[in-house]
Structures are given as structure tokens and as C-alpha cells.
Homo-oligomer: 494 residues x 2
């Protein structure tokens, strides 16, 4: 079992102190003196990858403590997990908040930072709506748009997931109002123009976005009104009177509860449709995560999402799929909604996190508002981040990382099934089968397990009330899964 | 008068085609064959600066048209002003949307892009709330915090002006609720916790932010609810029922209307106080721009802002100063509110645009919410942009650019006063005296003037209904002001 400390471990962080005299935490595993007892069966992506994590001090170490105290004078550090020495971090599987895809100090990303176009993007940052660079179409076409979801060929770029979702909501509201008005040529009324300046209807209508219980879509005012994961995110902040539908609560293992789960999904779809038909503030769009992440890693079947697409189509309500956390391969397909086999694509798909850039894709040209400056802001994203996105895509393709994640995820899931059989109380509701490494389970000692993991150099996160969730990078391989499994067993045994 | 074409012109853009065979627009003036008839009296900041603008094709030229059509397939281009070749742009005074401070391809900014810490910030982007780099305190202290407004020593970093304002509003709401609740130790009630999950009060209270008529504070849902500049920004988007107060409508020249203007400001303050006392959704904060920018370059006197500070203090309402457009020296002081000589500082100051990074400053430690994860998001800004901010500050200091802007602004204002005497119909309500280059006037032919300017290589913007507004970079010098003045006279004469 000691071997778990020798090979580069899982998942959220292999932690070690930078040098013997320093205690900032570098996100790399150490090159332990002893060789691993289990030789990797596949080629490691990073040859300079240490063979395992080693912990030199408690976390935070004395130097970190001092630095954190200093930082806390000027910047709130109460959510701080660890202070990191990124310059000494390499490869590794800790992905921040599911937001790092291809390893720390990835050499090909480093190369992309050295290009003249990156320098220009950094120092000549354009207001992309007014003054795009002459290479902006090329940057989009060779990057973001190359992976546009099926049925989508246009993009609105933004800066964060919240921003992506909120601009998508704005697009939905303008589209709905335009339809109601009778088309893009119909002018605003005098009453609309004057009332909107006082934030009143009809100019500022009481339209709504429907989201689901336990959903997370961001923390600004519109996105927070669709977020339903935890009270602490929402308390004391004014919210729009928008509706929420129940999200299916499935029982595991799925194969043992097939008809019960199908009924549960049907119940949720019926309730969703009822709300769309009856809610007092007209529902213009439904926003949904392919896997509710912050809310507890709640999954639903392709049939559920197909049903949701059918209902939204029938009621002329837009379907916005929030792929901020699920996008870019983590579920074993590039977009998680690729798992659904929809007959007609979603209307809008939002992205951020692993993309490093953010925004929303769409296909229907009528989702461009009928006049300029309606969907607009000063920067409309950041071309420096769009260039990083492109480099990430090249790395994903070069290493077949979506396929890797699908295969590693299957391998890891099998191992977790074994553990769940052996320690059923510790691995409840194991979920995410066939969903790449987007795997979670519930544990009554969740917080204790996360804490112990960190002590042995494995940084895992939680979500919802009791879920342990895995969010490794796309470079997570089978030999890392072995280490994780061995470590997990050690932890639950203790 | 031909000399205006020989020296590097004003303001928003000196435009020329890149090479004889290319028609992308590079933001630099040409090195015209003929020498300037008017030698610059001060040292030019950029020795490779061309001596004046030259226009080779109409804008957009044929190549640009083709590129724009291509871009339009995937990205809305209807707000596009011009397509730019940034790689060939140098120095220049066109500042995008008041968002470029120290020149295109500024060599010292370029240097900053080459540092290992910039590369790390780009490829190892941290979730700053959870996993800041060990150098994050240093980056803040040597950059953003070095120019923190008087009375402020803490920062919350974000990505855009809208984001900065909205997180500031959230801080204000949490602070207000905490005070009402009886302090940071008082726990949330059961009722608050359950109601907020349905977006209802008391957990999601009907608190409000008061803004001013014609204000612009951003375009996301919370910020847009405080934006009151133009209907096109707001139509069809749901808004919070928040109040607006009248902003003073001053008469110019100020010295001729001193008592009338003082009365007008008094009227607005009285109405602001009445709303704070009476509005049905309790006002927790007032947000105000030092100069209403998008709304028409509307100024008010220091006495007005002193009065606003006094009223907000007296009613225990926070004062948020939105320096997104005015910050970083454009008004001849680093922060525009430095002109006000307040006895107690604002509670929160927001920044973005010229800073390239965004966020809000504060001083009162109680503005940190009482628990972690209440003011939080995945990235909480971008350290790459914080590093650019630091390089910009170094450049501002090296070249004394705040002082330059104050002096150039005074010089330019005098010249405009001369023009206004000569062409009173074309230069109405000239304003911004003593406010650096933050200068504007009204013109009945505003749009025609902006169009003509562009044709001679001078890119100026408008704001409000009829205002021509100047927003040069901080590197705008007296010899550029000469060129601008000559060109403006030529335009209004024609």
C-alpha cells in the first residue's frame, strides 16, 4: 500500500513542498527515492512527472501560513485551500475548480504564450465588438469554433461562466420578445422605450428563466437567480422571481432501479412542463447542466434530456445547456450533451472553466438581436484567453485526451465499483458510469475523507451535502487511477 | 492647415492602411513625406511615432470588407467600427472604449508579457479564492493596491466592469443585511435559508441600489438595473425594481451659471435623499460615476459629491463610486473622485477598462462578508491581467502620465474654448475644464462630425444624444492636441 505514495497520485492535487527549505505547495508529486512497485501500463504524458506525492509539512506549512496571513490583509483568504507555487508545478491532476485541462506548465501551452499574437492580445486588448483585430475571425475559426457543438456555428465571447450564462439569458429574452412583437422588423413601442428606463414592464418585462433544483449557474444577479445549490451562495442577495423545476433524484446502481428512475424522470418532466405552461412570469428559456455539479453530481438519463428538448420545442422555449463545468472532454465526450443523441440540438450552449475562455455558442441566426449594441460590452471576452483555448484544443487532439478520459474513466469506475462492493457504507450511490472521469459517490464521512486525502497528497473536492466528486484533468491516466484507488482504500480502511 | 495630416493626430485613432497592398487598418499614423510645419514643443513618448495620419482607402477598405464579411458569419459585427492590424499599430491616441492607457505595442508592456510569471499566469490560471499562487499578495501589493484610493486597503478582483460593479453591489447587500440582522455573528434564520432557495424574501430580500438618470454601470442583470443611459441597452431584459435619482443638468460655461447650477445640484441631492428615505425597496447603496460617461459626459461639482457622501453617511447607505471609465488618470488625477476632497472616503470604488484588470477596492473590514464563499467565484479575476495592470502603473509613473494628462487637458481645453467662441453653434456646453482630457461638448451635427473625423484619420467617439467626447490615452501630448484642434476647426468649417 505504500506504493500509493510513490507514483503521482490523483486527482485534485499531488502536494509537496517546493524545496526542503520552502513550504509553499507546488502542485507536483515528488520524485520519491524508491521506485514504484506498479509500472505504468501506458505512456506517461509528462516525462518529468514525479513518481508520487510526498508531504513535507502539514498543509499549510509554516511559510505558507505566513504568506496567507500577509495575503489576508488585502484579499479574503477564508476560502483558501492551499497556497501554490505554480512555477514548480508540473503535470498533475488537480484541476482547480474543474478549470485546468492539460497539466500545469504544459510545454505546448507555454509555447503558445510566446507568440507575437499572444503578446499583442495582452498589450493591445481590443474591444472586440467595436475594434476586433484583423485576425479575430481566424482565432475563432481555428479555435473556439472548431469544437462548436453540433448544429452551432456562431459564438458570443465573454469572460466567465456567469457572464456566459447571463449573456445567453439576455439573448433568450430578446429572442422571446422579438417573437412576441411579431419579428425583428417590428419597432419598440414608445411605452416600451419609456418604461424600460424606469426598470418597469413592458420595456423591462417580467420574463423568467427556469432552472432546476440544486442547479448552479453562477453568482451574478441573473445567474444567481437560476442557481439553487446552496443557501450560502444566495442569502441577502435580491433575486428575480424565476421558477425552478425538480431535477431527477436517481437511485443507484442504475440497473437495479430502471423503472423507478424512469418514473422519477417522467415526474420531473411533467412538473417542468407544468411550470412552463403556468408560471406567472413567462418562461423564455430553460437552463440545465448535463450533470449538476456544484449541486451534488446529480445525473439524469439521455431520455430525460430528450424529453426536456421535446417539451421546450413544443412550448417554444429555448433550451440552454450550461457546459461550463462539463465541457471539454471531462465526461468522455467533448461536450457532455453529446451523450444525449438529441434529434434537434440545444438552442444555446455555454462554456468556460477548462476552456479558459468563456461564452456561448448558437446556431439559429435569429438569436442575434435585431439591432447592434443590444448584446455588447467593452471587451466581450479576451483574445489572450481565446489563444490559450486554441492551444488547449491542440493538446487535447495531440494526446487524444477525450478518448483517454473515456477509457480512464471506465477503468476508474470499475475500480470504484470493486471498492463499493467491499465498503458499501463508504461508497454510496456511485455514479458517472460511462461519463469519463466525471464520477462521484456519497459518503457519510465526506469531509473527513477529503481531509485525509489531502494529508497523503491527494486533493479531492466535495459537492452537494455528502458527495465526493472526482474532477481530474484530461491527462489523468490509468496508472494514476491505480494510485487513487489504492489511496482511497487506505483512507476508508483507516 | 495641411499640417494636421502630417503630425500624429489625435485621439481615438490615427488610421492608415498597413502596407500599400493591405487595407487592414493599423492604428498608427503614417510617416508622411513632408515634414511637419509645427515642431513639437515637448519630447514625444514614442520615437517611432509617425508624424501624422494618412488614409489610403475609405474605411473599411476592400480587404477589411472581405474580412468583416467573413467574421460576420460567426461573430456579430454590426457594432464594428474598424478592423485593426494591431501588429502594425504603435503609440497612438485611440483608446478603444477608454480602455487602452499607454499606447499600442508599448515596449515596456511588451517586456512584461515575456516574464515567467506572465507565462505561468496564462497557463496555470488559478482559482484565486481557493488556490492563489504564492506570489499573489506580492502581485497585488506591487500593483493594484499601490494605487488603492485613499482610505482603502483591500481589493476583490474580478474580470470586467459589470462584474466589478455587481460584486460591489453584492457586498453592499450582505453588509446591509448583516447590520439589520444585528452583526456578523448573528446566524441566518431558517426562514431566510429556505426562502432564498425559492428566490423569495426574507432570504432574497427586496433591497435596492440607487443609481442616477443617464448613468451607465454595465450590462449584466444587476448592473443593467442601475444603467439608465439608453433604452437599447435595456429593452426586453428583466430588471430589478430599483430607483433612480436625477443627476444634475449643469449649464455652461459654469462661471456664468454658478448659482443656477448650485440650485440644480441641491434639487438633485434633495430628491436623492427623499428616495433613500422613501423608496419601497430599501436602498442599501448609491452608485455614481464621477463623470457620467456613456450617458453624455455629464459632470457635477465636488460640492454635489460631498453632499452625496454626507447624505449616504447620514442614512447609513453605502457610496459606491464607479471609476470604471474615469479611473487611472484620464481626469488629470489618478482617481476622478480625488477631485472631490471628501472628508470620508467612498465605501467602495470599482475599476476596469484602462486598468485592464477589474475589481473593487474597499477599506471597511466589515465589507468582507461574515462567512467564506459568500463573495466568491471560480477565477475571481485573472492574474495575467493584474500583471499588465502593474506594468501600466510603472509606465504611468515613468512618464508622469497623470501630470501629462492634466497639463495636456488644460492646454486642449483652452484651445477648445477658443474654437467655441469662434463657432459657438458647433461647440455647445464645452465641459471638463480641469478634468484632464475628459472633455466633451454638444454638437447638433455630432454624427457627421465623427464621420468626417474618421475620414481624415481622427477617430472620436460620441456619448449621450449629441455629445462629442474626447477619450485619448494618457500619452496624448500638446503637439497632438494642436493637430486635433486644427483638424476640428477644419471639420466644423467645412
Amino acid at each position: 500500500m505504500a506504493s500509493v505514495l510513490r507514483t503521482s497520485a490523483h486527482i485534485r492535487a499531488a502536494v509537496r513542498t517546493k524545496r526542503s527549505f520552502s513550504t509553499y505547495h507546488a502542485l507536483r508529486a515528488s520524485t520519491a527515492a524508491s521506485a514504484s512497485s506498479k509500472a505504468p501500463t501506458e505512456r506517461a504524458y509528462f516525462t518529468n512527472e514525479p513518481s508520487g506525492p510526498s508531504i513535507k509539512t502539514a498543509i499549510p506549512g509554516p511559510k505558507s501560513q505566513q504568506k496567507i496571513a500577509e495575503l489576508n490583509q488585502v484579499f479574503d483568504t477564508r476560502a483558501l485551500n492551499m497556497l501554490v507555487d505554480y512555477s514548480s508545478s508540473v503535470g498533475n491532476y488537480y484541476a482547480q475548480i474543474a478549470s485546468i485541462p492539460v497539466g500545469y506548465n504544459n510545454p505546448n501551452l507555454l509555447e503558445a504564450t510566446k507568440s507575437p499574437e499572444m503578446a499583442s492580445a495582452l498589450i493591445n486588448r481590443p474591444a472586440l465588438g467595436n475594434f476586433p483585430g484583423q485576425d479575430w475571425a481566424h482565432i475563432l475559426e481555428s479555435g473556439l469554433l472548431r469544437v462548436a457543438p453540433k448544429g452551432m456555428n456562431q459564438v458570443f465571447t465573454s469572460t466567465t461562466g456567469s457572464d456566459a450564462n447571463e449573456t445567453a439569458y439576455k439573448a433568450a429574452f430578446m429572442y422571446h420578445a422579438q417573437q412576441k412583437r411579431g419579428g425583428p422588423e417590428v419597432e419598440f413601442t414608445k411605452d416600451e422605450i419609456s418604461s424600460t428606463m424606469s426598470n418597469q414592464s413592458p420595456g423591462s418585462p417580467n420574463y423568467s428563466i427556469m432552472s432546476f433544483e440544486s442547479a448552479f449557474h453562477g453568482r451574478l444577479f441573473g445567474s444567481l437567480s437560476t442557481t439553487r445549490s446552496k443557501p450560502i451562495h444566495k442569502l441577502d442577495i435580491p433575486a428575480f422571481d424565476w421558477p425552478k423545476a425538480p431535477f431527477p433524484s436517481l437511485k443507484y446502481p442504475l440497473e437495479d432501479f430502471a423503472s423507478e428512475n424512469a418514473q422519477e424522470e417522467q415526474r420531473c418532466l411533467q412538473e417542468a412542463e407544468r411550470i412552463i405552461k403556468e408560471f406567472h412570469n413567462p418562461v423564455t428559456a430553460v437552463v440545465v447542466e448535463p450533470v449538476q455539479s456544484e449541486g451534488g453530481d446529480n445525473h439524469a438519463s439521455p431520455a430525460f434530456f430528450q424529453g426536456l428538448r421535446e417539451i421546450t420545442k413544443r412550448h417554444n422555449v429555448l433550451l440552454i445547456v450550461d457546459e461550463v463545468q462539463t465541457g471539454l472532454g471531462a465526461t468522455g465526450k467533448f461536450w457532455a450533451h453529446d451523450h444525449w443523441n438529441l434529434q434537434t440540438p440545444p438552442d444555446i450552449v455555454t462554456f468556460s472553466k477548462k476552456a479558459q475562455a468563456a461564452g456561448y455558442y448558437y446556431g439559429n441566426p435569429a438569436l442575434r438581436p435585431n439591432k447592434p449594441y443590444r448584446q455588447f460590452n467593452t471587451w466581450m471576452g479576451d483574445p489572450a484567453r481565446a489563444l490559450i483555448f486554441r492551444a488547449i484544443l491542440q493538446e487535447i487532439e495531440r494526446l487524444n485526451l477525450v478518448e483517454n478520459t473515456a477509457a480512464t474513466g471506465d477503468y476508474l469506475f470499475s475500480g470504484l465499483e470493486r471498492l463499493a462492493k467491499q465498503y458499501p457504507g463508504q461508497f454510496q450511490n456511485l455514479r458517472g458510469k460511462g461519463q469519463g472521469t466525471f464520477i462521484a459517490w456519497d459518503s457519510p464521512q465526506r469531509d473527513a475523507i477529503l481531509k485525509k486525502g489531502k494529508q497523503v497528497g491527494i486533493n479531492i473536492g466535495g459537492c452537494g451535502e455528502t458527495a465526493v466528486r472526482l474532477r481530474p484533468m484530461l491527462i489523468f491516466q490509468q496508472h494514476h487511477a491505480d494510485i487513487l484507488l489504492e489511496n482511497l482504500e487506505k483512507i476508508v480502511k483507516s
